[in-house]
């Protein structure tokens, strides 16, 4: 096994990141967190997390950007809000997880072929295109880009869904698809303006 330096120099923390999260949705009350760990205890997914939600919040607050954004935990969050409703400081932890996901995607902080962001992107493409989601198509697109083998493994389920009439082959579409595209563009413009 190889030894590596564990000490953290203050210079390695990212103040900008700490500032940023404190002003994002979900981060507003981050400084009040008393690190009790109730969120982690309530979280149904925490048993798989590299950093528990509690520790993640602490790392974010202290500006350990790399540790936070490269953590698997933010992708494990299914936004079930278990953590939020009991938080003794009423911190919007789920909201914070969204903010972190977005930042991580923006800065490409995730393993190649990692399904969740791919899924997210395919999802948004399809919405932009047709205004609605056709699950069967989405699944095909996601897995063909991430784990083609798993897609084949799902044949059996596919057949069952077909038989029960739950797999839809035709793609569902909004009539005024133009509107959807317009709406999305308007958002992009608005975002650029607010950024500028």
């Amino acid at each position: 096994m190889s030894l590596q330096r564990r000490v953290k120099f203050e210079a390695e923390t990212d103040r900008e990141f700490a500032q940023w999260i404190a002003h994002e949705i979900g981060g507003e009350k981050l400084r009040e967190c008393l690190q009790c760990g109730l969120c982690s205890g309530n979280c149904p997914l925490s048993l798989y997390m590299d950093h528990t939600p509690r520790r993640l919040m602490y790392l974010a607050r202290e500006g350990f950007k790399t540790e936070v954004l490269s953590s698997l935990s933010i992708w494990l969050c299914t936004s079930c809000y278990e953590c939020v409703i009991d938080c003794p400081k009423q911190i919007n932890i789920t909201g914070m997880m969204y903010s972190l996901k977005q930042r991580a995607i923006k800065e490409k902080f995730y393993p190649r072929r990692f399904p969740i962001p791919v899924m997210a992107r395919q999802f948004s493409r399809m919405v932009r295109g047709s205004g609605r989601i056709t699950e069967s198509w989405l699944v095909v697109q996601v897995f063909s880009r991430t784990a083609i083998r798993r897609l084949l493994g799902m044949g059996k389920l596919g057949v069952r869904l077909l038989r029960t009439g739950r797999m839809r082959l035709s793609r569902d579409k909004v009539e005024r698809r133009g509107d959807i595209a317009k709406l999305m563009d308007a958002i992009q413009v608005a975002r650029k303006e607010s950024a500028a």
């Binding site: 936004s79 948004s124 839809r168 308007a186 958002i187």
Partner: protein, 291 residues
């Protein structure tokens, strides 16, 4: 009053049984509705993670469409219910979001005033129709069928106004009215793992297995759900959960299917043929035993 029925994408696909049974139940109980004209995807959870603003805009379009008709929205899918409500809240709480979205809506000639109430079928049946009204219409009681009502997360958290966040009972009341024996178990509000089954299979499967076990342990014969994704996860991967352990077989229905059955509606309305884990005989047997 007339409601704007907002199916969302899943109820047109894997969740068809939900739509078929729910609408039939609405008709039987005289809840008048019409499908929201030209609705679009709500923006859903996974969209949020890429681009929250766009997802608010998407949700806001639906809200604006309903507002134009000045109707209240019925959103059966948990994800839709949450996202639409969340958008309502954030549009109120965060001016900067409100700004951008309002301007974007403007480009397609829509406006948002936050007037539209977004409601869930459970609430409509409970508060608008009412348990007694349903009880009197029951033709084919479920005769002590042991049902584990499974609420999942996003119906009750964080925005639910009609039920308790830790221990919801709305579905319990409705199903008891149909003669079912409702099972109370702590996992009924835990998360089904959402899309994790697709993205991180071992994680998703573990969630699914825990939930099925919890229900089985309490002697449930059927699980009743309110969300297409929960239903899909719990029903469609049961033999996979068997990989490392003994497989679990447990019928998973939408609460609306059970009500449709109890109201004595036709097979098309109950939509049992859409089940992967067969349940026809189970329900049938109840009928015979107690008829």
């Amino acid at each position: 009053m007339k409601y704007a029925y907002y199916p969302g994408c899943s109820l047109k696909g894997t969740g068809r049984a939900y739509e078929e049974s729910l609408l039939a139940v609405f008709q039987a109980l005289g809840v008048s509705y019409e499908e929201l004209k030209d609705w679009n995807c709500c923006g859903a959870t996974s969209y949020m993670s890429v681009d929250e603003l766009s997802s608010y805009a998407l949700a806001a379009r639906n809200l604006a469409l309903a507002e134009r008709e000045n109707m209240e929205i019925i959103a059966p899918c948990a994800a839709c219910y949450l996202v639409l409500n969340k958008t309502q809240h954030y549009m109120h709480d965060y001016p900067e979001i409100n700004n951008v979205v309002t301007r974007a809506l403007g480009t397609i000639g829509l406006t948002w005033h936050g007037q539209t109430r977004v409601r869930h079928p459970l609430e409509i049946l409970l508060n608008e129709v009412g348990v007694p009204a349903i009880a009197t219409k029951v033709k084919r009681p479920l005769h002590g069928l042991k049902v584990a009502p499974y609420y999942g997360c996003q119906i009750v958290r964080p925005y639910s106004t009609f039920d308790d966040q830790r221990n919801p009972t709305s579905m319990d009341q409705l199903l008891s009215a149909c003669g079912a024996k409702v099972i109370n178990y702590s996992s009924k509000v835990q998360c089904c793992g959402a899309s994790q089954k697709g993205t991180l299979p071992e994680v998703g499967l573990d969630r699914i297995r825990r939930l099925l076990l919890a229900a089985k342990r309490e002697g449930a014969e059927v699980i009743a759900t309110v969300c297409p994704l929960c239903q899909f996860n719990l029903e469609c991967f049961q033999d996979e959960t068997g990989n490392a352990h003994e497989p679990i077989s447990m019928p998973v229905l939408y609460f609306s299917q059970l009500i449709a059955w109890a109201l004595g509606l036709d097979a098309k309305a109950v939509a049992l043929q859409r089940c992967i884990v067969p349940v026809q005989t189970l329900l049938g047997s109840k009928e015979i035993v107690h008829a």
